[in-house]
């Protein structure tokens, strides 16, 4: 059987410094994949190669059996920190409509259908009623929801998210992940997170990247709910004791 994402012996380096080394990974859209690891460990680089924004130095990435850029209409991307252009004069609706670009006619305005889809996606992420607001009037969490609505408007098979919760408080993060988890019933979710809680609570597959890659399967019985109770103390000690982390080859463990 062909995997939806197949990564074989992937290498990448920036200016001679190896960032990724012999990465192998299989992914199917029913899974919720979390990519975790330290800053500079190569998480974003790997994600960009998965969607074709970067070319591998060696090895290959196959998306639905093809080169990623050839099937970019099948995927959607929620980038990290999109609002570099903070005062950009644009309404929420026009941001979400960008998701319709590859589905609508090149030199025409967006159709009624495009608008209807954009509105329904805003509703799906709980942002209905905000369509005529200027994007810079929203909070970080609201903006991130709009970007997810934009990605949903692509009607893609897999959604890739690069640290979507970096600028959101814990309550906002929980509702965001609940949303993603419910979306995962129909859409594949691949998410980068520096937060190990996400991996434990929502992901079905966790990979840790620091130049090389380790795959963790999250056991179905795992029920680690500390994250959902904000008032409780959470620190790496609980996290380590809550899950058995195995970075050794299977035969040594």
């Amino acid at each position: 059987m062909q995997n939806d994402i197949q990564i074989n012996h992937l290498y990448f380096s920036y200016d001679g410094a190896t960032v990724l080394e012999d990465i192998n990974l299989q992914y199917n859209t029913s899974e919720f994949l979390a990519i975790i690891g330290p800053n500079g460990g190569g998480k974003s680089t790997l994600l960009k190669m998965m969607i074709g924004l970067l070319e591998p130095e060696r090895g290959e990435v196959l998306l639905f059996g093809e080169k990623p850029l050839h099937v970019s209409h099948e995927i959607a991307y929620v980038p990290q920190d999109t609002i570099a252009n903070k005062d950009f004069p644009i309404k929420v609706m026009d941001v979400v409509l960008m998701g319709r670009l590859s589905k609508s006619k090149a030199f025409a305005t967006y159709s009624k259908e495009d608008r209807a889809i954009a509105l329904s996606m805003l509703e799906k992420v709980g942002m209905q009623g905000f369509e005529n607001q200027k994007i810079n009037t929203l909070s970080g969490g609201q903006r991130q929801r709009v970007f997810i609505a934009r990605a949903l408007a692509c009607e893609a098979k897999i959604m890739f998210l690069d640290e979507p919760t970096a600028s959101i408080d814990t309550a906002g993060q929980i509702s965001m992940f609940k949303l993603l988890k419910s979306l995962n019933e129909t859409v594949g979710i691949v998410i980068i997170s520096h937060d190990i809680n996400v991996a434990l609570n929502y992901a079905t597959k966790v990979v840790h990247i620091n130049k090389t890659l380790f795959v963790h399967d999250v056991p179905k019985t795992q029920n680690f709910k500390v994250f959902e109770n904000q008032n409780e103390h959470v620190c790496p000690v609980e996290l380590i004791s809550a899950t058995r982390c195995n970075h050794f080859p299977k035969e040594l463990a």
Binding site: L53, F88, P89, G99, S102
Partner: protein, 268 residues
């Protein structure tokens, strides 16, 4: 007040202001939202090399400037595409190179002393009907570009990576944008000169961005603001016998500071 309009040169100047204002509104908006102000500055100054070359080889200066600006624009678009981290330094080099080349070429042109000041500060009061045709042609081109590719330009300016993944040829669109900027800049130079072109390209969009909620609205508002600055500046230059281009820019910068002051006061 109406007696101003009895002069042909004043009528031409007003028409030129109007054409330049719309070009400024559209191109200036694209420059500001794409953070290309330094690129526009480099092209504007560098295009003086085209003037020098045109004088030396005996072709029309504005044609020389336009071709040279397009050439510089192509180089800058290429450097940007290479993702060079020192883009600003390289633009600085082109900036200086163009101006130096222009001066040397005019030095080498026998028996001809070009009016450098009119290029640096504009000569809106001596705009000829032929210039108006050139400006109209560029305006039509710029408007067609902005209208036909509006969706794509909006997506690229807001989030180029997302736009690329949605199947837009971002590289090609960016090259086209830089070339449009180059053409627009040269045309505006005719009115306010290269030293002041940046002010007219950035001040109206900067103010307009605050109170509009779409890029199209920002273009319209910038055009109107720009037309206001130009006509007010022209009137002042006529009334008090001042230099036209500098008057326009002083009007624009004054309103810019007033707007800053106003938004500070209303925020507090």
């Amino acid at each position: 007040m109406m007696d101003i309009l009895s002069f042909d040169f004043m009528q031409n100047a007003l028409w030129a202001s109007l054409l330049v204002s719309i070009i400024c509104g559209v191109i200036g908006t694209l420059i500001v939202i794409n953070r290309m102000v330094f690129i526009a500055g480099g092209i504007a100054h560098g295009s003086y090399g085209g003037i020098g070359l045109a004088l030396y080889f005996g072709i029309a200066p504005m044609l020389g400037a336009s071709l040279f600006a397009l050439f510089l624009g192509a180089i800058i678009a290429y450097i940007t595409h290479q993702n060079n981290a020192r883009l600003d330094s390289l633009i600085g080099v082109l900036w200086a190179f163009g101006m130096a080349l222009g001066i040397i070429m005019t030095d080498l042109t026998p028996g001809y002393n070009v009016d450098l000041m009119s290029y640096l500060f504009g000569a809106i009061l001596s705009v000829a009907p032929e210039d108006l045709y050139g400006m109209s042609a560029v305006l039509v081109l710029v408007l067609a570009f902005a209208i036909v590719f509006y969706k794509q330009l909006l997506a690229m300016s807001f989030d180029a990576q997302f736009a690329k993944l949605r199947g837009i040829n971002v590289t090609l669109l960016y090259v086209a944008l830089v070339l449009m900027v180059a053409l627009g800049v040269v045309i505006i130079i005719r009115a306010v000169g290269l030293i002041l072109v940046i002010a007219l390209l950035t001040i109206p969009p900067y103010i307009a961005e605050k109170f509009t909620n779409s890029v199209g609205g920002m273009m319209v508002a910038s055009s109107l603001l720009s037309a206001l600055f130009c006509t007010l500046g022209l009137y002042l230059s006529y009334r008090f016998n001042l230099s036209g281009g500098a008057s326009i820019i002083l009007v624009a910068t004054t309103l810019f500071f007033l707007q800053l002051l106003y938004s500070r006061l209303t925020k507090a």
